[in-house]
Symmetry: C2
DNA sequence: TGTATTTGGTTTCTTATTGCAACCTAATTC
DNA sequence: GAATTAGGTTGCAATAAGAAACCAAATACA
């Protein structure tokens, strides 16, 4: 039985998870954000099986999250580089990181600072137009007609 | 062979994915944010197999993302409600939603607006202390001593 | 009161995916 | 010229997923 891929075109979260929602993809992307580009480096830093890494890299390339660039003179050295689409997952990765640090208290080996100033980056949050953070209770989910969906979280 | 659970305590992203990084968990959480609380409602709205739903709900309860509340008089009616920890995944869910809409252009059935004003919520992003958005190229990953890790993304 | 249905599961069975290890080919290094 | 490296592919055993059947307690329905 094929694992359900969330083709449901009515749910953006499902569609996003369809591309990057499996066990390894987001870790591959995070590692790419750290500068990893080569097959063997992904393999060693993540401790992932080679066939699974092959599969994930191919799928991420198919989906336009990574590009495979030929860097050898004669075609057996490749680099996997983030595309704009891939780099745009930065907020997702950082939000996950911060969530884990807030609730599981595990200290990551590395910190994230602004390149220019060296200041730590702020907390990733949903915001209104004034830049004030919004929790899930501060928003409404509305349908195409602007009618709010009943809800109590 | 047991699927690798990312116990690696040195990586927050891996730890976070260990709790909510499988195919269904984030969809269950998103659905809970929409107000779904009952087993059958999760089942029908997500189209998930009952045994898998059981497993995911139990795991999310174990990890403190949901609580199981007895709402029947005599103990066979339950509700699964988000905890503070679960609600705090809001930024992750919205970031994924927005990423998909930016890059895959699929229109979600529902829109997200601020409860008070009815205005659409802003784009979730990593920011510096001044509230300016930061891309992955605008930050440095530094180790415990503040030394930047070599990197070119 | 008696029957049907709903709820929240568990069990069984089949299929898919994972992880490991072995292997493989072209290119590089020694 | 031999050994190693890069980037895979293949085969196998173990695990997880999905569908469907089943089940007990509680509720709704007549």
């Amino acid at each position: 039985m094929t694992r359900k891929r969330f083709e449901n075109p009515g749910c953006s979260v499902a569609c996003a998870l369809n591309e990057v929602g499996d066990w390894w993809s987001l870790l591959v992307i995070k590692q790419a954000m750290l500068g990893t580009r080569r097959f063997v480096d992904f393999q060693h830093s993540l401790g992932i099986a080679k066939n699974i890494l092959c599969d994930r890299l191919s799928r991420l390339v198919e989906n336009g999250v990574l590009v495979r660039v030929d860097v050898g003179e004669h075609g057996t050295r490749y680099e996997y580089r983030l595309t704009d689409k891939g780099r745009d997952l930065f907020a997702v990765v950082v939000a996950l990181r911060q969530w884990n640090e807030r609730w599981n208290g595990s200290k990551d080996d590395m910190r994230l600072v602004e390149r220019g100033t060296g200041e730590p980056v702020g907390a990733v949050s949903v915001q209104n137009s004034a830049g004030e953070p919004l929790g899930v209770r501060d928003v409404l989910f509305v349908d195409e007609n602007g009618q709010p969906l009943d809800r109590a979280v």
